[in-house]
Symmetry: none
Amino acid sequence: MSAVKGARTKRMPRAVREQQMMDAAVRTFGQLGYRAASMDEIAELAGVSKPLVYLYLNSKEELFTACIRREAQRLTEAVQAAIQPGLTADRQMWAGLEAFFRHTQENPDGWSVLHRQARTHGEPFAAEVARMREEIAAFVTVLIGAAARQGVPPAPGATGSNRSAELADRDVEGLAQALVGAAESLAGWANEAGGISAKEAAGLLMNFAWTGLGGLMHGERWSPR
Amino acid sequence: MSAVKGARTKRMPRAVREQQMMDAAVRTFGQLGYRAASMDEIAELAGVSKPLVYLYLNSKEELFTACIRREAQRLTEAVQAAIQPGLTADRQMWAGLEAFFRHTQENPDGWSVLHRQARTHGEPFAAEVARMREEIAAFVTVLIGAAARQGVPPAPGATGSNRSAELADRDVEGLAQALVGAAESLAGWANEAGGISAKEAAGLLMNFAWTGLGGLMHGERWSPR
Amino acid sequence: MSAVKGARTKRMPRAVREQQMMDAAVRTFGQLGYRAASMDEIAELAGVSKPLVYLYLNSKEELFTACIRREAQRLTEAVQAAIQPGLTADRQMWAGLEAFFRHTQENPDGWSVLHRQARTHGEPFAAEVARMREEIAAFVTVLIGAAARQGVPPAPGATGSNRSAELADRDVEGLAQALVGAAESLAGWANEAGGISAKEAAGLLMNFAWTGLGGLMHGERWSPR
Amino acid sequence: MSAVKGARTKRMPRAVREQQMMDAAVRTFGQLGYRAASMDEIAELAGVSKPLVYLYLNSKEELFTACIRREAQRLTEAVQAAIQPGLTADRQMWAGLEAFFRHTQENPDGWSVLHRQARTHGEPFAAEVARMREEIAAFVTVLIGAAARQGVPPAPGATGSNRSAELADRDVEGLAQALVGAAESLAGWANEAGGISAKEAAGLLMNFAWTGLGGLMHGERWSPR
DNA sequence: TATGAATGAGTGTTCATTCAT
DNA sequence: GATGAATGAACACTCATTCAT
């Protein structure tokens, strides 16, 4: 971020250089994709010679994996840091979404690495992201459950019973999947074309999904009769 | 699909050969990605010599673009064919979703090309997919509007007015984006890990989104406070 | 041999080009060694672009193996062609040795590939040469046996019995090994420093070894004491 | 030999460090070959940092040369130490061979460096080994001469005259070459495949060569006719 | 209509070697 | 006496693309 193009600064401790390299790598991978990104380019952007990149990070694959891991951790940390345990479920979810949209907006290349590149280039990488996704999905699942117990939007004249209706595990998984997908899609759109703020995106998604989730918890179902 | 490996059949009319090549290309691009797929591989899978591929399709980029266009058209056609004009808005949306999930399930490589590969490899290709996405989003927007007029899930004690509330264009776009994202994510999950049918996926998504959409139309809003 | 440096002749049938490449490879490997030889160099010497070398011969390793095989076959063929079945054992051996020395003299690079390079660079290659060596050693063993039956240099007052004495298999192997080693060493010396003809080398080796072999067959032994 | 892997012991006198490095180098060169051995590997095996290797031994080439020299000296010393001046020529030769086979068996990496690697990698190195070879060959030549004067295996009914026949210098050189080659070949075989002891190998070679040599000294000749 | 023959330009990776401390 | 940090130059290998037939 500081040096747009390799201003070959000399003699840095290893840890620092490694971060510089990964910054350059995330940027390059994020914008060009795994295959199109060349180690030459990354090295130059990092202001280092190529052998040094290999000395520290061993191979393109390992470098990519390291990027994925770092960005995944940063993202989950950002989301989790935003959630304050004392709040109601809906407030928690909103806070999490807002942090998610904010973080992806501020780190578009990291987000591209996670969302687009990693999932596009074979098992080993996809698995790395899948872990993060599951972590988040699990968390969302918990929120949904909590919401149900706290009494979610009652939807007064609802056809279902008032007690939290049973939702098959599979369905919950699917819902989390849908929610995360919606958020991801929205993130991409908000950052590129939409030009809306993280807060707006979070509100939009809450409006879109929260009521439906609540309804489901109370046993409402849509069915093509 | 017919010939697993290039059974060099001779002298075919151009149109047929072209389709064979694109079949091979979609399969290869879908499974390996744009950069990892090699023209050699595609030509061999198509049962043709490489120069012929170039003769008909000019370059790797054009070939990829052609694949995207073909698959995008097939997908939108499948979705639109499923929608019968006479039905209510919710039935129409359900039918569209069902067709979407079915088609992506039956054409995983084509779906991979559209969803993963095309969007991962630079503007020219992403634009091609964006067109399709907009087409669908526009269509969804119309449905939402129609739903509002037909009186969507009234949510009886709703806080909003009964008249269809104004939704900013930007918001509608965002909603469509979220819906499509949710559907895409669900499609990936359904095909790979989830193992659920197209009908189930469509139902799940309707449950998830339809109430919320309806609520929005009637002016309900979730807001953090 | 014709073109000292890549006179890029155009459009040759594959078989011809392959031989050209292998000629260049044998020369380069023979003079520089496996590791020091670069594919660029080989390609240039062959008057071809590097990708073509890979297209036809797949990898440096396979190219090297192909060279070894070709040169091994040529050498054994040369030796075997020289041996006329009707002759006595000693004449046969002499003829074989003479052919061996002649061939190695005329193909120093091929000989270097077989004798030096192949055995120096790891199992897969050494095994290839070992096959040839065993073929020749087996052949030599047969000759020794035949010699014994035909009555080899009687060594008139020999201390051993007149019947062909038993030689343990292990010993015969060892003898063949020694003979082949002597021949190889002599070949190197004759070609480089010695400047003696193939005929002379063959005579020298017969003088050196034949009597001893004969003695052994009749049970003579040297023992320290 | 003491430390299998660089147990970075600190602050050693230069001479000791140098020997450690050369031990590591001989091992690495012997097993991997000159080109395949990397300075990194050698430094690590020696338990030293790479710059130190350069400080003491200047370059890969010089390091290799130093290894060759050291191993060559050790080998010739071992051989010469085994020979007791008072003995008959044949006993001397046997003792020398035995020492040769024993030493190579006990120092396979050093032997590999001398026999395989040095001769395979260009003039500068080969010359170093050639010197050792010549030293030994010269010594063998002397032995052969001595044997002639002492009256070697008379081969009682020999066709040649009883006086030591004239052998052209060139021939003697060639014979020594053959003998050394046979010994070398036998050494490789004995160590790897044959699994025979140094004593056995020496005996085998004496049986193989000594009679022939003796015959030659008395003017016996094999000639093709 | 269709292909065997051929290549320029680039990729990831490694290695011997040197500073600065 | 000893090392962590760094690189220029090369190497094996691949790919999209074209030419001549």
